[in-house]
Assembly symmetry: C2
DNA sequence: GTACGTGCAAAATATTTGCGTTACC
DNA sequence: GGTAACGCAAATATTTTGCACGTAC
């Protein structure tokens, strides 16, 4: 791992961007490694929202020896530290709900529990409010992320 | 599979509820089977939002021979037909996003593509608007589900 | 009676982990 | 130099599928 990182990153991650990434890593207590730079740069320059596996494919073009495990490990860390955003899509690890009343969800970031919540204000949100550029929006869901009462207590005690 | 379904369902699914379920199945073109009744009843009587595996455990108490595959198959069908709601949680099959600007997501129900969308109205939604009962809401995300332009075109042509 | 649904077991897919080596600070 | 990170490969976890048999309508 003695390659020139700037040349690896090329024009998708200019030197200032690399310095900015190094600073953000320091802020959250992560080492600034070539792998992390390339993963982050690849994600930043992606217009779509790649999965870990797709991103690994792109990153390998620049660091052919990088492992999928490293991509998974670092994406988890980036999400945990708030450097990137994880988007939950359907299927895997899905949870199910047969509550027929209009409601929204609160998801605990710590224990992943799901709580139903009722909000007249959110119920009133219209599909038309999303400027959707050709996308046919059929349904809108509002989800709050945070800490459930149990995990909030635990976190307070740990600290 | 000649057991008495009413006794299997017990008080968690009264006879009227069973009839109601049969009607809803008919409406969406699904056969009314004992497995489906029990899966649906178990979900309806769950206060939490169980995963497929957890639900399978509960359903097995009533139908010990039911397979996990049947639970997966039927949950997918129920979601597809709108009888139950699938809640996407973090981790598995996650997609990632390094867009630092405040934005929301549109997810295509057909191809699972994710599109960023900007909405001043949604950005203005406050955390305080969710009556959260002890849950510490740190972040709110609005997600629209529907058909992306590409899939909408395809669906129109298929029909 | 026929098409659909189920159980079983195997396959496919996705994600995590242990461990020896290497690189960051 | 010590700790954190990496690559590799194996282990887990999750979800889907083929097939033979049984059941709903």
């Amino acid at each position: 791992m003695s390659e020139n990182v700037d040349s690896i990153l090329g024009d998708q991650a200019s030197v200032p961007a690399a310095a900015e990434f190094a600073r953000r890593c320091r802020d959250v207590g992560l080492a600034d490694t070539p792998q992390r730079r390339v993963i982050f740069a690849a994600l930043t320059s992606s217009k779509d929202h790649p999965s870990a596996e797709v991103l690994h494919g792109r990153v390998k073009e620049r660091l052919p020896r990088i492992s999928l495990a490293t991509v998974y490990r670092n994406l988890s860390l980036f999400v945990e530290k708030g450097l990137v955003d994880g988007v939950a899509t359907a299927s895997s690890h899905a949870r199910f709900d047969a509550n027929p009343h209009k409601h929204h969800h609160l998801i605990c970031k710590s224990c992943a529990s799901v709580t139903d919540v009722y909000s007249a204000a959110y119920d009133a949100l219209g599909v038309d409010r999303l400027e959707s550029g050709g996308f046919e929006v059929q349904e809108i869901k509002v989800t709050g992320y945070g800490l459930c009462p149990r995990c909030k207590t635990k976190e307070t005690n740990d600290a």
